[in-house]
Subunit: 162 residues, 6 copies
Amino acid sequence: MGDFTHFNEQGKAKMVDVGDKPVSHRTAVAAASVKVNRETFRLIQSGGMKKGDVLTVAQIAGIMGAKKTWELIPMCHPIFLQGIDLNFHLEEKDYSIRIRASVKCDGKTGVEMEALTAVSVAALTVYDMCKAVQKDIEITDIRLLHKSGGVHGAFAREEGQE
Amino acid sequence: MGDFTHFNEQGKAKMVDVGDKPVSHRTAVAAASVKVNRETFRLIQSGGMKKGDVLTVAQIAGIMGAKKTWELIPMCHPIFLQGIDLNFHLEEKDYSIRIRASVKCDGKTGVEMEALTAVSVAALTVYDMCKAVQKDIEITDIRLLHKSGGVHGAFAREEGQE
Amino acid sequence: MGDFTHFNEQGKAKMVDVGDKPVSHRTAVAAASVKVNRETFRLIQSGGMKKGDVLTVAQIAGIMGAKKTWELIPMCHPIFLQGIDLNFHLEEKDYSIRIRASVKCDGKTGVEMEALTAVSVAALTVYDMCKAVQKDIEITDIRLLHKSGGVHGAFAREEGQE
Amino acid sequence: MGDFTHFNEQGKAKMVDVGDKPVSHRTAVAAASVKVNRETFRLIQSGGMKKGDVLTVAQIAGIMGAKKTWELIPMCHPIFLQGIDLNFHLEEKDYSIRIRASVKCDGKTGVEMEALTAVSVAALTVYDMCKAVQKDIEITDIRLLHKSGGVHGAFAREEGQE
Amino acid sequence: MGDFTHFNEQGKAKMVDVGDKPVSHRTAVAAASVKVNRETFRLIQSGGMKKGDVLTVAQIAGIMGAKKTWELIPMCHPIFLQGIDLNFHLEEKDYSIRIRASVKCDGKTGVEMEALTAVSVAALTVYDMCKAVQKDIEITDIRLLHKSGGVHGAFAREEGQE
Amino acid sequence: MGDFTHFNEQGKAKMVDVGDKPVSHRTAVAAASVKVNRETFRLIQSGGMKKGDVLTVAQIAGIMGAKKTWELIPMCHPIFLQGIDLNFHLEEKDYSIRIRASVKCDGKTGVEMEALTAVSVAALTVYDMCKAVQKDIEITDIRLLHKSGGVHGAFAREEGQE
């Protein structure tokens, strides 16, 4: 089993020195779900057409949030993100909004935290836009789906459904 | 059933005018869980003592993240937060880190998004600090537990376990 | 004629002390125009329906930008904005996108800079979204239309057309 | 005619993937004008000497604003700016302050938005510093003058006067 | 002797709840010194006239830095600063630049950290502007000079010279 | 003797163009001291064990502060920091907290300002955490200890004690 890398020899947090790592092309895909009730779900669905598009606001918030990852997560490195894309799927069977973010860069550190931050901020934005109509929304299943690049190579989460 | 409030008459997003709302004392408590495996769980537990304290970094990240809610969530109002506290519970039975954030302010808008952002950023920080030792960590159950203040009064989530 | 207020007795810039000013309800409305060519204008028009909605991105950017006014303009005070709304009008006769922002707060300083920053950031965002299809876009007519509140009272710009 | 590039296949905004673009040396020069009345113009002119230098504050605001472009414009990439310079010309004939910003970087994306943001923030700062003495200031003619680097090559705006 | 207030009952850092504190008028004055050699001192002195004004850049940086105190210092509350002023004195006898910042607000928490951050950022900016001509500059004597407002009343540092 | 480099030919501040500089591996080590009284010193010492760990908060603040250097210091370039580490030494003989920060990057500009900002923000955080128990804390001796990389080569401060 490995060991934490974000601490110095005195057991205090540090931003890991990645100076010796090679630059490689990095990608990461993360996901999150927002669980709402039937009424909220219908409002979000119809909103795209006429009442106001919750998901577009969340899309932009997710992109802008990913760019702020290094400001939010204390030990994250500043990164030159080269591309960020989010998509939203309205899952009828459990009234959930499924969010996915895909992030790319050429760099010395991975971009999984940027993808995870993108879906988290997008999910919080969906929550914010809907909280006036439902108080018990829940954000779940924030996780990494795929990752490529770097010395440790690719990772793909084993999942049934997604 | 209510309707979305964050959109103007053209169906475009706006920051809701709260000018006519009274100032009241607001509190909100939110929670999140980070699900890790047994090995990561043990490392976090022992880290507090000798290897580096993951939870202290997450604590500070959560507090600083709450103050940035208005920057992250597009339609959130800037707020004068008066107090933020987080606590972490290591739940042995499912190897999860349970995070709670409590936020207070006197203002015209609620502070639930600030509490939810605090636990989300804290959870992402736990993820970041542990991702070198485990790739399939999951963040779940981000939700509002309590809320008080404002014209709509108090809310308490009905929950079995927590 | 008045004199600059943003300088101290040594002629150096300062953030003006507004401690003695009364709190009052403040509003400001500002405007800007983005001048594009016929092709870009048509793309923006049709984009709302099927290709991607430039104006929605600009709307959100304008709202988020207004909240950052104090970070951008050196002598601006931090302000608790209470409401921000933008609207966009596609003016067929000169192929311009006319942007208006309305900002509100209860405070000791006016909110004209916040309204002006909102329209400026929204206009820059329209520019950014369209710059791949047209290189000579121009942003013009950034100005204050109305202002109320404060000891100096209301201001309304005399304009022919708008 | 081209098409918007900032949208994904679902017509939703994305941060364009520039991973395949080559790194090249980029420059961009943008301009803006602030139109004031004769009295404000004289105050700005004389202020440089004894009352407080409006343009120096605007100069610094423009430089700092350019560095924040990626935070303000939702689809802009974070960029390692390598140099930013602004200059101001007091144009007697129409009492305008003409602002120019020149921005440089080696990167995969152009820096025109950074140059345009620099002049916009500088112009807003001039407005802010002068708004106590004149209410109907106007910011106009925000535009790109030159651009070099990148696969599309150089651009130079055809202009009579500047 | 008192005890630290920034920790919760588990010994973890928190942002102190100031909800029960009364709003009062707060002021704080802080100071810092930048020690340079004779050559750098002369350059700064003459620069004001013809070569570029180091102190004006530092002045603006100090004001903007004070507004960011809550972002930099983890347990600081967001504050509505009402006024910030800095002044610089070139002390011939030890070739030091003496910086003072005065900060005001009406609020529930003091503004000493804002005044201390203002002088620190101003001092770092002087350092940055001069580091090409001198490598061993030193910033010293960052301290609070006065403070008023709040339940604990006024504080004034006993000092000989300043 | 050299000359200031941060000004353009009109004597106005600019962000220096580093486009022609070679990329090299850069390191910088900076230091600061926080002078407290015996009681505060003992509280900080014991706090690490049971009452709340001031230095851990300062450690994280220093790391996060270093990443914001380009936002705080007007003429600093945005930098991709590759590693940041801080350590704290409690110096019994003069009751001071000695802070050191080491920063690394591969780039066209040095990282001394990032190291100096790291120790400054860490020192301000120690001050903030202790100000409830002591009013006359002082931050001193902010200075560069070592620097390597870049065309001007290495620098090491000559010091007796440290």
